[in-house]
């Protein structure tokens, strides 16, 4: 079953195409990283999935239902623009949002204290929201998001405003939920977070989907192209090998870019001509992949686009 299905979805704000003919399929039981630079259309897409704004054209299905109002109780959504009633206590806020998401009183009596403990706010349960620090506020907001034990969790920039300790706490909870079979979609532009969490990557730029694959595939496809080697003796021949497209020398080490060829063939070719002291297939970080894909010509992306409008 699809958790979310986007079918040729478009949304414009004035002349800006915030989301441009986007199609994607998010299946159940995995963690999806929804990546893209600022203004790529991430928040707009998420808001359309949540029916906060409506697409100009295209079709959206969520939990196999065309009408999101029917399934809201099964979804947990943490928007980018988020806040809580400042005059209510943490416990009451949590119980209230649970109640309007359809959680009954008996379940709430058990879940509210559970989640307050889980996000380490048990000692603050009876403090008013306005007395909490920004990080605590954020954790409470997360607890609000998942209080209804949702099958599908959508988090828009969940890590912003959290210190490293709390980021780890949140990651642990997300992985726990994945193990329980839930589907998690989160948007971010901080790549190392995505790297540790995602099964799948959805990368969009300027409203268009430019990458939709598992993290492993993305990595291996990119990684095959760069190898770092250390040879004994003259290294000039490397440049002339057929599978080599570019060589960058860094002291004894060479960073070699390859065509689609197998790295093992390249290794063989090297061994025939010189002694190989070190050979490393470079696994590029998601960060590098991101920069490669989004700004191939070295042009910085426009930082202020659709998302703020």
């Amino acid at each position: 079953m699809n958790a979310v299905l986007l079918d040729n979805v478009c949304k414009s704000f004035g002349r800006l195409h915030a989301v441009d003919n986007l199609s994607a399929r998010i299946s159940m039981g995995s963690v999806y990283g929804f990546l893209g630079p600022n203004g790529a259309g991430k928040t707009t897409t998420i808001r359309m999935i949540m029916n906060i704004i409506r697409p100009d054209s295209g079709r959206i299905e969520i939990l196999a239902d065309g009408n999101i109002e029917q399934v809201k109780a099964r979804i947990g959504y943490m928007p980018e623009e988020r806040g809580l009633y400042r005059k209510m206590t943490a416990r009451k806020v949590l119980a209230y949002f649970g109640a309007i998401k359809g959680v009954n009183d008996r379940q709430l009596a058990q879940r509210v204290p559970h989640w307050l403990r889980r996000v380490e706010l048990a000692d603050w349960a009876d403090k008013k929201v306005e007395e909490l620090s920004r990080g605590m506020h954020q954790k409470l907001q997360f607890a609000v998001t998942v209080i209804n034990d949702p099958e599908l969790v959508i988090l828009d920039e969940p890590f912003s405003g959290l210190d490293p300790l709390n980021q780890d706490l949140l990651k642990d909870i997300i992985l726990e939920m994945r193990n329980e079979g839930k589907t998690i979609i989160f948007s971010t532009h901080v790549m190392h977070e995505a790297e540790k969490l995602c099964d799948f990557i959805l990368l969009i730029n300027k409203g268009k989907l430019i990458l939709d694959d598992t993290l492993e595939n993305v990595r291996s496809r990119q990684s095959a192209h760069t190898v770092s080697v250390e040879l004994e003796g003259d290294t000039a021949f490397v440049e002339n090998l057929p599978m080599v497209t570019a060589v960058k020398s860094d002291g004894n080490r060479l960073d070699v870019s390859l065509t689609d060829a197998d790295t093992q063939q390249f290794l063989q070719a090297l061994m025939q001509r010189a002694r190989v002291r070190a050979f490393e297939v470079k696994v590029p970080s998601l960060h590098e992949i991101f920069v490669n894909l989004v700004a191939p010509s070295g042009v910085p992306w426009r930082a202020s686009d659709a998302e703020d409008s």
């Binding site: 959504y77 943490m78 928007p79 988020r82 806040g83 209230y96 309007i100 998401k101 609000v144």
Partner: protein, 423 residues
Amino acid sequence: MQRILKIAQREYIETAKTKTFIIGLLMTPVIIGAIIFFSSRFSGSKAGPRPPIKVAVTDLSKQLVEDLDTSFDNYNENNPNRKLLLEHLEVKRDSNEIQTRGRDKLRNGQADVYIVLDRDILRGPGKIHFYTHKPKPTNVDAFWTIENLFRKVVENRRYKIEQIDQELLAKLRNVPIERVEIGSTDDQEQVQTQIHGIVKMMVPFFFMYMIFMGMVGTGQQMLGSIIEEKGSRIIEVLLSAVSPFQLMAGKILGLAGIGLTVIALWFAAAYAAVRWQDLNVDVSIELLLYFVVYYILGFLFFSATLTGIGSVCNTIKETQSLMMPVMLIFIIPLIAWPMLVQSPDGTMARVLSFIPPVTPMVMVLRLTAGANVLFVEIAASILLLVLAVLAVTWAAAKIFRTGILMYGKKPGLFEILRWLRQS
């Protein structure tokens, strides 16, 4: 529905806890009651001491000097700390000269009042001339007293001259009237005092004012609550759980509850006051029923309007410019109240009954004022009101849905009209 009720419940509880609610809506009847209670207790001894007032007088008729002295002495004896000092400016030959002296006395502060009695004051159309110069506002009260003392002196002397028996005259002039309102059975007869007339005017006003307050008072709470949710960015979190319509419905329902609570408390206070003063106020169950129906419809109309307004604004200040024209309409019946009570079947009352925003106030006023309202008129006004409520709710829901997520600039009228056309 479950969720709408949850939203309504929170709205009710959180509003009931705010200071504006407790002070503004609940305490007002208590405060009004206290003011009435204390002012009635102290009104008996309201006259405090004041410095003596100097009265200069020129009696051109030359016949009232002694009478005036006696009258003022009497007064001073009874009011030892509020004396009036009388000084006669004698007329010798030139009356103009003496009058100039009197005016000078006023101007240099030797007298507070200068009075001239015409020569033919007793037997002709002469006047009492009452001169003041830059009078102190605190003395205005005393001026009335002085006027009355003079008038009394002249009057009494005139009776004597015409040889009229004053006691007889008073007896002849006294024709008592007893107003009796008979009830549906004979044992319900009620003797009316003057206060009953006032009560008869005030009861319709009270009913109308209850509707006004129940709508407008809680309306402020509605705006505050929407602006809070918008300002604290709670809206999107809420909309992840409920639809915009559920949110709006919950809010309206919760605040309708607040309105009914306040009205119930006011009615209880009014009922206590009526019992305490032993007044006869006749309010039928039927009337109360109409009241509730009109209140709820009126409230729905008003609060739907406010959700629309609240959703396009970011601060309370921004809402004020949009609230102005709305409030102007709702104030019409408050201003036109005396006219409406006096002719509850007049053209104005009839026309206002069919202008949806003010229908509830005007209809309740007419029904309590004992107008001859046809049932057809009631039914038609309710029908029209229901249609108006549906139309406003439809428009407000559309504006709410879009406006609630807009931050920053307030949208223009043209843009709002565009939202209405969107599906």
